[in-house]
Symmetry: C2
Subunit: 221 residues, 2 copies
């Protein structure tokens, strides 16, 4: 029983319902994609599984691909906050690396069921990869703008864009490489003692951070 006077910022029934079916769509899609693959799953199937009309799907997501990136701006937000909260002695590269740490810690999306599916699809379905890259480029431009206004005297627009590109490019490259090798190893390890299959995402993060720091080293002077 909710306290009667709490200024409950509870969204209206409409919005709650909308959020519920939104999640139903994501869950249904994750399940179907995982079971039959991306191309083999039609929008009509997803909609049916979430019990809405096919046409209605497109009022929730502009496209089938958008379904895969429900929180696309979370990482960008964190990075922009990192820039805003900078200490006086931090250079641009320091800020970006700190943002990367924060993302690694707080990103809840990495454990969602959709995330697991997405990483698999990223390697195999061109459309998924293309969409991911597009999202990346959008956030990259935001970061570039924020950087150049935060360091007006050290970073002009073009240099800021270069740095932002170097950063996101380095991270994306490292993640992709890691993902590739990880999944290859997994295939190799197949058939041998199929024990509890311990995952080690923690030193993955350390690896990514190290590699990014090395790649960006020339940018800190």
């Amino acid at each position: 029983m909710p306290s009667p006077l709490s200024p409950a910022p509870q969204p209206s029934l409409r919005e709650r319902k909308r959020e519920r079916t939104r999640h139903a769509l994501i869950d249904a899609a994750a399940e179907l994609f995982g079971r039959q693959g991306y191309d083999e799953t039609t929008v009509a199937e997803i909609a049916a599984a979430a019990e809405i009309g096919t046409r209605t799907f497109f009022t929730y997501f502009a496209s089938k691909e958008d379904l895969l990136f429900p929180e696309s701006d979370a990482r960008a937000r964190i990075t922009l906050e990192a820039i805003a909260d900078r200490r006086a002695d931090e250079g641009p590269v320091d800020i970006l690396l700190r943002a990367l740490d924060t993302v690694a810690e707080t990103d809840t999306d990495m454990v969602s069921p959709m995330a697991a599916v997405r990483t698999r699809l990223f390697r195999t379905v061109p459309a998924v990869r293309g969409k991911a890259m597009q999202v990346q480029m959008d956030t990259q431009q935001e970061i570039a703008r924020a950087l150049s206004t935060a360091f007006p005297d050290r970073l002009d627009r073009v240099t800021a864009a270069a740095l932002a590109g170097a950063f996101t490019g380095a991270v994306a490259g490292a993640v992709t490489a890691l993902l590739d090798t990880a999944l290859l190893d997994e295939e190799d390890a197949e058939g041998k003692a199929d024990g509890p299959r311990a995952e080690q995402p923690f030193d993955h993060r350390a690896l990514i951070r190290e590699a990014t720091a090395v790649a960006l080293a020339p940018w800190r002077r």
Copy 2:
């Protein structure tokens, strides 16, 4: 008249014909995209303009987007050659810098009519942007693999990928930033003296050279 005994490596009639219609498709598409836009141009129109059946289009290009990146692997080839031809005293960074210089000199794609159209579409059509990033990422991973096998003791896969990503990301970021300002200026200048609208409103090659210089400056120490 060709010397009768020259071991002319002339491709067969079949291949020449194929190459001809291939270019006809690219030219027709460049013209149509430039005139009516990307989404407003159908594959059927392009095929008709090149005088082939609609169905046949897809034996030349796997998709409408592929039409926009006809030489997508040229840059990767040059870079891989640069890695193969490295001198003993060259580090990974030196090689990449040299490769990019070579690309700047020898890349003919930058002056093709398609290039001008592509840069315009890159800013406005999501599908084009996504495809471009995907191409970039693919070549990047190839370069990373080659780098880490060329320097097995200095670069693991992940670090090599981060380095390659940082490089291409920096250049790409700088290019788009510079392109944005260039194209915005151009729009501003619109309405005044609407002269013949010079078909090559800016020098791609110079622009890319400038962006590359800015983006890679930190690595050149």
